[in-house]
Amino acid sequence: MFKKNISPTTVPLRESLTLACCTLLNVAPEAQAELLEDIKVDSAVLVYSESDGRVNVVEPIIKLKSEIKEDQYLNVQIVLDALTGASPNGAQSSNIAQTFTSPSGNKTYTTDANTQPLDDTFHDTRVAISSTLENPLDRLRKNIWSASFSREYDWQSLSAGYTYKQDTKFKDTTYMLGTSLTSDAISPVGGAPIALATMKAPGDNSSKAADESRSTVDLIAGITKILNRKTITQLNLSISQSSGYHNDPYKIVSLIDPISGLPTSNAEKYIYESRPDSRQRQIIYWKIARHLTEDVINIAYRYYQDDWGINSHTIDLKYRYELSAKNFLQPHIRFYSQTAADFYRHSLKDNEALPEFVSADLRLAEFNTVTIGLKYGHKLANNKAISARLEIMQQTGNSQPADAIGAENNQDIHPDLSATILQFSYSFIW
């Protein structure tokens, strides 16, 4: 499918890579012998940067696609995440400075008065490798096998999946059924905190326990249909069931005085969050692409709900405006709105009985996200292409909830989050 002369010097590395991928997916040796076709390479570097000194991510990614036999495709994707900066620890800002024990349990960090508490010990590097093998059974049916592995300092994940696709006789409709199993091993820095235990002073590890794990089963059913010469659409239904450890080991909840709304006068002012040990998600996902006279409009909508009480709507709109045969501009708008988890609390009163589940993680609160962006793409000679995009993301929650007490009303309970996304891409045939 991809035509280009192969330089003799490139073969050993290509062979090594493809052999590694085949090993991951257990491709038969005779298929490996065919792995000298040209490879389509999509590469990119993403720079994600949050305002106010929060999270910064540099994320290079490379995706290789090769037709190893007629209609049999092997895809391999490798991603590297390098995260630095500071992440909210869940505690509430206050009109006094606050001191927290770092996740490692051997030092402290302090947040100024009237400032959102951020854990500045946050940094991580993650590598993720995923691979799929598309294997046709006949003219209309296809098996897709997938495997992925990711590793970071405190998290390791292994996943395997299978998807079956079947076209109708005239190939205008495709049915899809798929499943995957994921196993996560979680080794938080300093140990996994005991749910609802209080944050201890440095050197006291009595609130920390052993490593944890989680397993997830995903099921998906979908239909893709060509509506007419200019329109194609897809509808997917998904269910995901996970069980095991779901807490964020680095998130805490503030205990406050029930009258003044200030941090409690007790010696221990924060507890570790507690989430249910299972989660079921249900998703409806719809997508449509329509060719206009020359431009293309692409719209996606997702409805999501889970048994934690969260439901959300996502609308994603891209409009590809063809400037010329080799250049395009693509504005992008994304709207997202979610309700809060049943157990989300921005803080707890120090005289109330601890609930079974509680989290002050802002990602489980009610909020909206709006993203706007623009992408420019340019085709080069010899099937090469470059593109760049710049997007701005703004997350807005309820900064003054009705249940705020006393001094809490002077604080921003849900600070806005602004982030800039910058990406450069380069595609070529290897």
Binding site: S43, A44, Y48, E59, I61, K63, Q77, D81, D124, R126, A128, I129, S130, S146, S148, D154, W155, S157, D172, G178, T179, T182, D184, D218, I220, T224, L227, N228, R229, K230, T231, I232, N236, S238, R281, Y285, A289, R290, H291, V296, N298, R302, Y304, D306, I310, H313, I315, R320, F335, S337, Q338, R363, E366, N368, K375, Q394, T396, P401, L417, Q423
Partner: protein, 103 residues
């Protein structure tokens, strides 16, 4: 142009109200805008979307890379990862993928 102006005014409405009113008002405004957008886009998209059989030799437009339902898989994967780590919702497009401690 009329459509573009509509998008612009709707978007400005969302942004400007987002910093003034409490969350419920903002949420209602947001959902109202979304509903209006869906209705408008549905009309815009489906006005020419009657189902017609497409012969193999009529699939020139559908075969273009820009007409794929996910035209840029790398960009899509990066975006999925960003929003997975910043929002409570995830999934819908496909299955599996590497887990992550970012959420």
């Amino acid at each position: 142009m009329l459509v573009l102006n509509y998008f612009k005014s709707t978007f400005i409405t969302i942004l400007s109200r987002g910093h003034v009113h409490p969350i419920k008002a903002r949420y209602n405004c947001f959902m109202s805008a979304i509903t209006r957008l869906i209705l408008l886009l549905s009309f815009f998209i489906f006005s020419g979307c009657e189902i017609q059989p497409v012969k193999p030799w009529e699939r020139d437009l559908l075969a273009k890379p820009s007409m794929q339902l996910t035209p840029d898989e790398v960009e899509n994967a990066l975006d999925e990862h960003i929003y997975f780590s910043k929002e409570a919702s995830t999934g819908g497009q496909s299955i599996g993928g590497g887990g992550c401690g970012c959420n």
